[in-house]
């Protein structure tokens, strides 16, 4: 572990610092929004949104290299496509005309396919693997600024409208009947989810990011049944998962995204098994 701390100070490898910083910072949004996602049971929507980001990433890279708009970074593409996917899914599920799960599945696959087509037509070599599963080597300082700004926006909005978001997570119909624009807040929640998954797309990738959204909240749910405590605990756990995962991946020379997720998944599994066991012991 000392190795990792030393490496953080090494001016030659700034990306490690960036990754850790991005991870710790994004944990605030992941903990808060993840708790809403888990209690509202919309993790499959978060999954579709995160996979759609490949479309945005591919398009941004294409525009950057072929058209030459250098400001159009993959991170920006990821954010834009995540928001677009969120609005489409949100409107579909609010209107209720189409089968929601069909639309979610279609977006999920189509978004990825669009991304791969763009990548295939972009000159130069871009490894899709690094977008799918994360690659901290790709984190730039400008990405970090965007992550910071979005993090403040997401966590700020989520906390500002906490009571209304809690209301629609617990009982959407009742909240609507009290005169709250429940549909609007549901849309807000999905958009916040989209921005959140975009935050760590560099570190853990579009496929794995969903685990970081749901696992900390799921673990926290074993220890508390109060939503504010669950959020705080989720934030701490998310920080722990990203920091520990990064350290291990550096020390043992493993890819960072999978290391973080495997660690988070292992903790979730252990907590669930121990929880079941304790329940079994107390009942018998």
């Amino acid at each position: 572990m000392f190795e990792f701390v030393q490496a953080l100070h090494d001016p030659g490898i700034p990306f490690l610092r960036y990754a850790l910083f991005a991870g710790l910072l994004a944990s605030v949004s992941f903990g808060v929004v993840g708790t809403y996602v888990v209690t509202r049971k919309i993790s499959y929507i978060a999954g579709a949104i995160s996979h759609c980001m490949l479309g945005g990433i591919g398009a941004a890279l294409y525009v950057q290299t072929v058209i030459g708009w250098t400001w159009c970074t993959p991170m920006l593409g990821a954010v834009a496509s995540a928001l677009l996917a969120a609005v489409i899914i949100g409107l579909v599920s609010l209107r209720g005309q189409q089968r929601e799960d069909t639309v979610i599945g279609a977006l999920w696959a189509t978004g990825m396919a669009i991304g791969l087509l763009f990548l295939a037509n972009t000159p130069g070599y871009f490894d899709p693997m690094s977008f799918l599963f994360g690659n901290i080597l790709l984190i730039s300082q400008s990405d970090l600024w965007l992550v910071s700004a979005l993090d403040i926006l997401v966590a700020g909005l989520a906390l500002l409208f906490h009571n209304k978001l809690l209301g629609i997570c617990f009982d959407e119909e009742f909240t609507e009947l009290r005169g709250v624009n429940a549909g609007g807040y549901y849309l807000l929640l999905i958009c916040l989810t989209a921005l959140t998954v975009a935050l760590l797309v560099r570190v853990v990738g579009i496929v794995l990011v969903i685990a970081l959204l749901t696992l900390p909240a799921a673990v926290a749910g074993h220890f508390t049944n109060r939503i504010r405590q669950m959020m705080i605990l989720s934030i701490v756990l998310c920080m722990l998962f990203t920091a520990t995962g990064l350290a291990y991946s550096y020390v043992f020379n493993l890819p960072s995204g999978p290391t973080i997720i495997v660690f988070a998944g292992a903790v979730y599994l252990i907590v669930t098994i121990v929880g079941r066991f304790m329940k079994w012991v107390s009942h018998s």
Partner: protein, 257 residues
């Protein structure tokens, strides 16, 4: 009685869903502070009636007045308790969190962000006292018994100082003792507000409720004193077995359905 005095007033209201009629030519007139039970077979239109009163569904034809106004305008003064089965039993909220949701409202009770003030918390605690759950305010909703949860949901409905209480099957999922308790609470509230309660349980109906709104596409209102087997047969329209509920049988011999 004029429309402005009635708690709920329907004139020639019809509603159909995908061209099949759900409610046909409904006329009702519920006076204020009435305790009414809405009964009828599943699919008979009970939920639709409730939704029309709440303004969540617009009737195809006819006129509706709730507390002397259109349903949507009356909505802030209606306390609503939805069906119990819709709740996630593991949802991480405290009793007070849940009751405070009754104080949410657009630009109304607590503003744009929905932050609670002292007034909101005082009202929530008062509502909890009314359902005898004041001491449980900080407990997680998920650890409560079925009957306690129902009472918390009633407190949430009471939290906005309603003139009318709408309860959708409040006695499903609770045992006989909890049901009795619930009933006692509703009886004390009845002097202050109109109570409309959807119920499957006709026994529950006849003992405390003043009138019964029978819904099976058509709607008929009966004072409970007039409720006979013949009227019920007419409403449910078919074979069914009458069970007397106003007496107690042996230990296991009497189960509410």
């Amino acid at each position: 009685m004029t429309t402005s005095e009635s708690a709920v007033w329907f004139r020639n209201v019809s509603f159909s869903y995908n061209r099949s009629p759900v409610l046909e030519n409904v006329n009702i007139d519920i006076p204020p502070n009435e305790f009414s039970s809405i009964v009828g077979p599943n699919g008979g239109g009970k939920t639709t009636l409730l939704k029309i009163i709440l303004g969540a569904v617009q009737p195809d034809t006819g006129e509706v007045r709730v507390l002397g106004e259109s349903p949507i305008r009356a909505r802030p003064r209606i306390g609503y308790m939805p069906q119990y089965t819709r709740y996630d039993p593991h949802f991480p909220a405290t009793v007070l969190d849940v009751v405070l949701m009754g104080r949410l409202g657009a630009g109304g009770i607590n503003g744009l962000f929905g932050w609670h003030g002292r007034e909101d918390r005082d009202q929530a605690r008062a509502a909890l006292r009314e359902v005898e759950m004041a001491d449980e305010w900080d407990r997680p909703f998920s650890v409560l018994s079925g009957g306690q949860r129902q009472r918390v949901l009633i407190a949430r409905a009471l939290c906005c100082q309603p003139k009318m209480l709408l309860l959708d099957e409040p006695t499903s999922n609770v045992d006989a003792l909890a049901e009795e308790k619930l009933l006692a609470i509703l009886q004390t509230l009845q002097s202050r507000m109109t109570i409309l309660m959807v119920s499957h349980d006709l026994g529950f109906v006849s003992t405390v409720v003043k009138s019964v709104i029978c819904v099976n596409r058509r709607v008929l209102v009966h004072p409970t004193s007039e409720l006979t087997g013949e009227t019920i047969r007419e409403i449910y329209g078919g074979d069914f077995r009458m069970i007397r509920h106003d007496h107690r049988c042996s230990e296991q011999g009497h189960i509410h359905v």
